[in-house]
Amino acid sequence: MLFKHHGGVHPNDMKAPANQTAISTIPQPPQVVIPMSQHIGAPCTPLVAVGDEVKLGQKIGEAKAPVSAPVHASVSGKGNMVQAVIIENDFKDTPADTVVPAADEDLFDPERIADIIREAGIVGMGGATFPTAFKITSGWGKVDTVIINGAECEPYITSDHRTMLEKPEELLKGIQLIMRACKVEKAYFGIELNKKFAIDLLNFHGAKEMGIEIVPLKCQYPQGAEKTLIQTITGREVPPGGLPAQVGCAVFNTFTSYSVYRAAYEGLPAIERVVTVSGSAIETPKNVKVRVGTPMEWVFEQTGGFKKEPWKVIMGGPMMGLAQYDLSVPCGKGTASLLAFAGDEDRTAANPTCIRCGQCISACPMNLQPIYMYMYEEKGDIEMMQKLNLMDCVECGACTYICPGRLHLTHAFKTGKAKIQAYNAALKAKEEAEKAKEEKKEEK
């Protein structure tokens, strides 16, 4: 049986240039920049002072809030702090004392595994960067199903695919740890069918015996969006504004699972990840291991550089990634790909015009009506925007991709959300002010 979701679009997956190349290592940069906030939630407080010697894997930013994740040194060398920790690389990779595999008995205790994951600073590596340990502990008692996201539905990206092919056993062990930490017996591993060989390989390595069911998914975007994936695999729908735990699900990315393995069995925190370098401006598309904090520019240089002058550089996938204007931006924990496009892949039009084709409605995985949301956003009609559930938009970009009139739909919805939030905040403030006034009157 083939699993598919409602709506969606079918962009050319563009994975061919990179998915045949094995993960390679690039030389380390002379300097890494490690931001104190590489996740959703509270930023870290730095633990090193200027001039301190830091070692590989040493914790350099402490997470005090529950929804947070610590950050670690991805190289060894001399620390230098601004708003991030900058480490002058000494190219020695001297490991910190904390970089030791966990004791075997620790790997069977959910609380201990969650601790290891928290200490390793692991966050959702698919790009959302939600702190993984908090996802696990907050789901206790609610989550009955663990879903591993191996859809990798964004075009160009192949880093998860290569990880499945090159580290299948380690990956499955990581998933097993997550299952144990979540206190569930069964996990579903959703993989799109353009990674057929990876599906076979994981099954060959005994996924089934470990209680991990590989679910082949139809190639469609946004198959790997959290809510969509849960619906496809379990049939459950996360209510509007809700979290997956409300329907008993917890979703973890493929590379997150592999990072959990490394944290537990090698003691290595989240300081390195596989990044796909691809796009029409790239000389040789590749998958490379990149230390967290490595500037994008260094990665591009070390993978063969540009064959054409880049027109647009994207951190993340082409559908949801962020366009960058400065190549010195460091790669973070959630950077699955770096893309450089030579030409106008946006296909922007001089006069975007809606022709009412309704394809945005068929494409929306959240069953929204982008055509009307856009109309009211243009007008600034907050009431109608809310009525059309604009806040439900997951910003996947499917409607914008398919739009023949070349409307900037996703962009409009992002600003529309901000408008709604500002409006509601103002409304609340006004209400509170009036309440305070009335209370004062009563006192008098």
Binding site: N351, T353, I355
Partner: protein, 336 residues
């Protein structure tokens, strides 16, 4: 490091489908080609002249209006070409050369551009142009000619629809209706050619089957149940394959701009078109009802769209009818 580059920064997504408005319009034109070919085979050179004049004047009016109003050019999106072809297709082949020009003026300037151009008009421009011509030049617009391979008297020729309207089966064989060896408007005669075009549109995902199937299906079911001829099945088939039903259901009712955007709404729209078509054919004074049925349904699109929003993700579907029964049941229980 740190060299300056001119990089574009914009909101995601950063890729888009190559299929833009122009590609879609081109697909519609390709889908109309078989019907055009059939009209040339059965009517000779006249369809070429009428279509050429219609297309040329549509594009010219579109270009001229946008220039005059100092608005960005839109003739490049080919939508005016499609309007021109569609309007020509619902004119009799005998019309004088200047008639399409007047129709194009009304269709493009009044119906389309005065409301803001492509995507903003609420009536189908081609059909509105035809309706305008029919109201203004009733004689010219009902002067039918037989197809070239038909053995009939050209002077007193009546289309199969005229005979259906009189409540009798047409003497034209079903085979002739299918291939198009029959009188009628330029583009409507060959059912096979129109179905071929429809198949292309569905294959290229320009249209979904929702509107054409619900439209044609409704006409078929109603004419079968309330048949006026014998055999009933033949009556139904003649009603489906004669007149502008296929042209209307495949190419006119599916016009993006003047049909609902929600899946549920499209089915309601199609059923409404079918109902009105049969009503006009049965009880109207004019034998054909397709064009007016579509034009009337065009006016309901906004209302249909508003009331057929897709179910919000993560919520229970609304079931008004079931809820009503549940409420009635409760009342009954309370009464007991």
């Amino acid at each position: 490091m740190n060299e300056q580059r001119n990089l574009i920064v914009s909101s995601s997504p950063h890729i888009r489908t190559p299929r833009d408005t122009k590609v879609i319009m081109l697909d519609v034109l390709i889908a109309l080609a078989p019907a055009f070919l059939a009209s040339i085979i059965f009517f000779g050179w006249r369809p070429i002249m009428v279509t050429a004049v219609s297309v040329a004047s549509c594009v010219l009016f579109e270009f001229g209006y946008r220039k005059l109003m100092k608005k960005p050019d839109t003739y490049g999106d080919l939508s005016a070409v499609v309007t021109g072809v569609l309007m020509a297709f619902c004119l009799p082949p005998t019309v004088p050369w200047w008639l399409p020009i007047i129709g194009a003026l009304f269709a493009i300037v009044v119906v389309k551009q005065l409301f803001g151009g492509i995507g903003k008009n609420f009536l189908n421009p081609a059909l509105a142009g035809r309706a305008f011509l029919l109201a203004s030049y009733a004689v010219l617009m009902t002067n039918w000619m037989p197809a070239s391979f038909q053995n009939v008297d050209a002077a007193t020729y009546a289309t199969p629809l005229a005979s259906l309207s009189g409540g009798a089966l047409s003497s034209v064989s079903l085979g002739a209706m299918l291939i198009g060896n029959v009188g009628g408007s330029i583009g409507e005669i060959s059912a096979v050619a129109l179905l071929l075009g429809g198949a292309w549109l569905v294959y290229r995902k320009v249209i979904s089957l929702r509107i054409p199937l619900s439209f044609i299906g409704t006409v078929a079911v109603i004419t079968l149940i309330f048949s006026r001829g014998n055999p009933h099945f033949m009556w139904m088939l003649q009603n489906v394959f004669s007149g502008g039903l296929l042209l209307g259901a495949i190419f006119m009712a599916t016009d993006y701009c003047t049909s609902p955007v929600t899946p549920k709404g499209q089915i309601i729209f199609g059923v409404g078109c079918g109902l009105l078509t049969v009503l006009i054919r049965y009880f109207g004074s004019y034998p054909e009802g397709v064009s007016y049925a579509i034009l009337i349904m065009n006016l309901t699109v906004w209302m249909i769209d508003k009331n057929t929003a897709p179910r919000r993700f993560g919520t229970e579907p609304k079931r008004p009818i079931r809820d009503l029964f549940a409420r009635l049941g409760k009342k009954k229980e309370a009464a007991e």
